[in-house]
């Protein structure tokens, strides 16, 4: 299998796992509200399913990185490192802002997830411009 075919295959696999994880997150979040109305066994099972698919998604991402070309790997890993570092800093700062009542609303984890996704995309675009 050549490099391009392997990359396309790994990207497709990663996209499928990511989509499945997103759907299982929606199921775990809204299922107990609208589908099984608070049944704790079903809620626990849906969360287990969500975690299991999440692990699959992480492994698919690792496979994608392992099979990536060395420059692509560098671009991806630098973007991930920047995202991890900034998410830690912003997350702690956001939490302090909440605990010291500097912000009138509760610090939600969803904010961090959105921040990570957006910053990772920006870092990828920046790195691609830098190296490619």
């Amino acid at each position: 299998m050549n490099t391009k075919t392997a990359k396309r295959k790994n990207l497709s696999r990663l996209a499928i796992w990511t989509m499945a994880w997103t759907l299982s997150t929606a199921l775990a979040t809204f299922g107990s509200l609208f589908l099984w109305e608070g049944n704790k066994v079903l809620t626990a099972l849906s969360i287990l399913l969500n975690v299991g698919i999440g692990v699959g998604m992480v492994l698919a991402n690792r496979q994608f990185l392992e099979d990536s070309d060395e420059l692509e790997k560098k671009v991806q890993l630098e973007a991930m490192a920047l995202t991890l570092g900034l998410t830690l800093i912003v997350g702690i700062a956001y939490s302090i802002m909440d605990s010291t009542n500097l912000i009138p609303w509760d610090a939600e984890i969803s904010f961090l997830v959105i921040f990570m996704a957006l910053f990772y995309m920006i870092a990828l675009i920046f790195n691609r411009k830098r190296y490619l």
Binding site: N2, T3, Y131
Partner: protein
Amino acid sequence: MRAEKKWTQEDLASAIGVSRQTINAIEKEKFDPSLPTAFRIANLFECTIEDIFEFGETET
């Protein structure tokens, strides 16, 4: 050296198992290749690594 052999970046990339973008970045000195890739390139051109790459303390 690649141009002398009339190879495209895609030809060279396929021969050593990296992407065309990697070859482009190496040629533009934006990216330092790994040691295995440098050896593969040198082997392909039947010369030493030093004939192709020169060491410099520049940031990539």
